[in-house]
Symmetry: none
Subunit: 208 residues, 2 copies
């Protein structure tokens, strides 16, 4: 079983060589002629034709894994839909790449934990609403908060520190923390970073 790494110029990143000493660099044109059934093909998504290439390689009995510099959920889902068996970060460490190889060559599927959590989280809520009474309306997160908590949440989502929020709202830093703790609990996030991520779509809508 051979490893093929597909980039535009056929270059072979040192990390890949480290992960798989027998790794072979190649191009979209050449890999179709040289790869044998059962081989593992890694394609960098900066290769514009990766969707078409994936669609041709999978029926040939090749296992395809996509590598992206800026992983995006939609791209990952598209890759899996086209028959790819994995989607990982181009900069993944050597031991991670070996792990991916192990999984996908054993009939497994590899996707990042974040995507899976997102995908499954969304599906879980959808499934739950059919059988259970789920009070969480996932439409607008801010609707779950009180007026004061909303103020704090919005300030934090703009990157403000606790001290800054306190100054803006003319309350003590301790009170800001109290509101934040309530916000974290209500929205089920662990810290202000996750809060920013959860509220970022709202910021986007609010400015249009």
């Amino acid at each position: 079983m051979d490893h093929w790494f597909i980039t535009m110029d056929g270059s072979l990143k040192a990390r890949w060589q480290k992960a798989f000493p027998d790794a072979k660099p190649s191009t979209p044109e050449l890999v179709e002629k040289r790869a044998k059934s059962g081989d593992l093909v890694w394609i960098v998504t900066s290769v514009a034709s990766w969707p078409q290439l994936t669609q041709r390689l999978v029926p040939m009995g090749l296992t395809v894994v996509l590598l992206s510099y800026a992983p995006q959920d939609k791209e990952a889902l598209k890759a899996l839909d086209l028959g790819a068996r994995g989607y990982a970060h181009t900069l993944a460490a050597a031991n991670v790449l070996r792990q991916v190889a192990l999984v996908v060559t054993n009939q497994g599927v590899w996707v990042g934990q974040e995507l899976l959590a997102k995908v499954i989280g969304g599906t879980f809520k959808a499934l739950s609403q059919r059988t259970e009474v789920s009070p969480s309306a996932d439409s607008d997160h801010l609707a779950l908060l009180t007026e004061r908590e909303r103020g704090v949440a919005l300030a934090v989502s703009r990157g403000a520190t606790n001290k800054e929020v306190a100054r803006q709202l003319d309350i003590t830093e301790r009170t800001v923390k109290a509101h934040l703790s309530a916000i974290f609990k209500k929205l089920s996030v662990r810290d202000r970073l996750q809060l920013m991520l959860k509220l970022s779509p709202i910021r986007e809508q609010a400015s249009h």
Copy 2:
């Protein structure tokens, strides 16, 4: 990295001992005190409090895998939603358990193939109908960074802590800090929060 197997009576199945010679049996009460960050905790779902236990263990930096005698999709989704990294059959063979351990300790997620296909297949259609992926307006910022710094910046912009980034890129937390300091200086931001704002695809200023 230690393995902990949680059952009601703290018994240790022979299969588990075979898979991991250094496996330690424990109970829901004891594991919280004895397990260290990075350890892998296997919980049998016949332990009624597994959801609460999982929620407490995950934030502690522990990797949690659920084992069920009668795997069900819904239970698996709940487990993953609570932060578990794997869901397998209690009677899985030793070599399968070792495989699961390898995957989950490398930022991967282990679920049955059927469930994964079901979940991803269903979600893909839902996500596809959304708006097109916006061309990343952050490419200019990322261009200022080195390859490694880009990896760190992207992970942080997804809300990861330094410890998580370190695990993902297989470097020490100290090195993550070094890269972050360089990133902050290059992009003229004071902390990770401002970095997130700068790298978030859509900014409020951009729409004015």
